[in-house]
């Protein structure tokens, strides 16, 4: 599975757009990029997944450049409740892996 690198922590203010970048230089052709969000005292929650270009849902946008060696999770107009740890995962969608690996993630702290 491709190794991922993301910032350990980030600070932001309410109402700002937050972009969290994840590097995955060894991404394979059949790998997808997935982001999870974890609030304190809760399990991780799926946010978004993509393969290339741009994916958008009601929570976030995911930007993936043509070379796919990095990706950026964009959270529009964050609020205090977006304070959480965000995990970037890279791997294939094939069956039988059972090896979804979570790294340390990025701790986002949103201030008033």
């Amino acid at each position: 599975l491709a190794k991922t690198t993301q910032p350990i922590s980030m600070d932001s203010y309410e109402g700002q757009e937050v972009n969290i970048t994840c590097s995955h230089n060894n991404i394979a052709t059949n790998d997808y990029i997935t982001w999870y969000q974890q609030f304190p005292s809760q399990g991780p929650r799926f946010i978004i997944q993509g393969y290339k270009t741009k994916v958008t849902n009601e929570v976030a946008s995911l930007f993936i450049p043509a070379d796919r060696k990095s990706s950026t999770l964009s959270l529009p107009r964050v609020s205090l409740s977006d304070t959480a740890v965000y995990y970037c995962l890279v791997g294939p969608l094939d069956t039988g892996g059972f090896k979804t690996i979570f790294g340390a993630g990025t701790r986002l702290f949103v201030k008033a």
Binding site: Q42, G43, I101
Partner: protein, 114 residues
């Protein structure tokens, strides 16, 4: 939210005692997983199940056993708890078991072994 219930939510026990954590799902998903989360280590897979009575080891399985007698229940047992097993334990489920497929997590069990 996915119907996943973990019990107990908190547990304090003594070294050497057996402990069983329960994960119950109402989604009828085939795959179930147990993870532990520790500061500095992220989430690490302990054991997983791909069907009733079908289980396999993850990356940190030593000291743990699991059982799945029904689709909806996945039990994690610490046969003789040690202080190194103090952690937050999360159960997760998925539909197909694909490596990077969407996982749904429970709210976790905080276990303290004294």
């Amino acid at each position: 939210d996915a119907g996943i219930t973990q019990s107990p939510r908190h547990k304090v026990t003594e070294t050497g005692t057996p402990v069983t954590l329960r994960c119950h799902q109402t989604e009828n998903h085939r795959y179930m997983y147990w993870y532990r989360q520790d500061p500095g280590h992220g989430l690490r897979l302990i054991h997983y199940s791909y069907g009733v009575k079908d289980t396999d080891k993850g990356e940190v399985s030593d000291g743990y056993s699991v059982s799945r007698s029904k689709t909806e229940d996945f039990l994690l047992t610490l046969e003789s708890a040690t202080s190194s097993q103090t952690s937050v334990y999360f159960c997760a489920i998925s539909d197909s078991g694909a490596t990077n497929e969407k996982l749904f997590f429970g709210s976790g069990t905080q276990l303290s072994v004294l």
